[in-house]
Assembly symmetry: C2
Homo-oligomer: 111 residues x 2
Amino acid sequence: MNIERVKSQMRKGVLEYCILSIISKDEVYASDILQTLKDAKLIVVEGTLYPLLTRLKNDGLLNYRWEESTSGPPRKYYGLTEMGQKFLQEMDATWEELVASVNQTTSKTKK
Amino acid sequence: MNIERVKSQMRKGVLEYCILSIISKDEVYASDILQTLKDAKLIVVEGTLYPLLTRLKNDGLLNYRWEESTSGPPRKYYGLTEMGQKFLQEMDATWEELVASVNQTTSKTKK
DNA sequence: CCCAGTACTTTGCAATACAAGGTATCATAA
DNA sequence: TTATGATACCTTGTATTGCAAAGTACTGGG
């Protein structure tokens, strides 16, 4: 048992939420998302992100378009579908609830 | 894909943290923990909690003592070990970091 | 004696983050 | 033309772990 495992574990639960949120702000491709997550200290590797994007797309929350690049192979630029936007709103609420629950549970006051 | 799955997923990451925190406040047995979590709207079932307690105990974060009950079988009352207390402090910091990361990532400001 | 209530445990399954390796495209330079 | 490096996307195998469901065991009342 180490603290890194815990961090990774906590990260898991909010990954989809963060990724949908990032995509909601701007059309982005995978490397953009990785960079944004990294900036926020939410380390994620390619092997995690790609399957997740595919899953979200298959669930109808995302769509994408190919775009040529001047410096390499073409990129998939992702955007939120209407369903994805609705889902993101629900996730906002879910996250707020979770924060409230954790704060209540871990408050330093002895019950 | 439904929102319930997302809630469950988010819950996972903080379960151990919440449970350690609950135990840090008072010696409790499994049903106490379940009730506290339920009060905080963090629904957890027995099949989740018991293996988790066993794992935390095997990792040296918890210990327990048996106590007779007047209304059923004896109960395991859990308490934090010294290592468990240290670990809880680290988890406090980890949780704070995660909240900061998520807030940064999901802030409504277009980057 | 059985039954209901309480408490702890175990088994099998499904979801999924990650490590590691693979395939494909493009620009540059020998 | 061929080799190299950078970029981008994809796949496979593994380990973890929450959960549903079923099981075991102790207690007291009818």
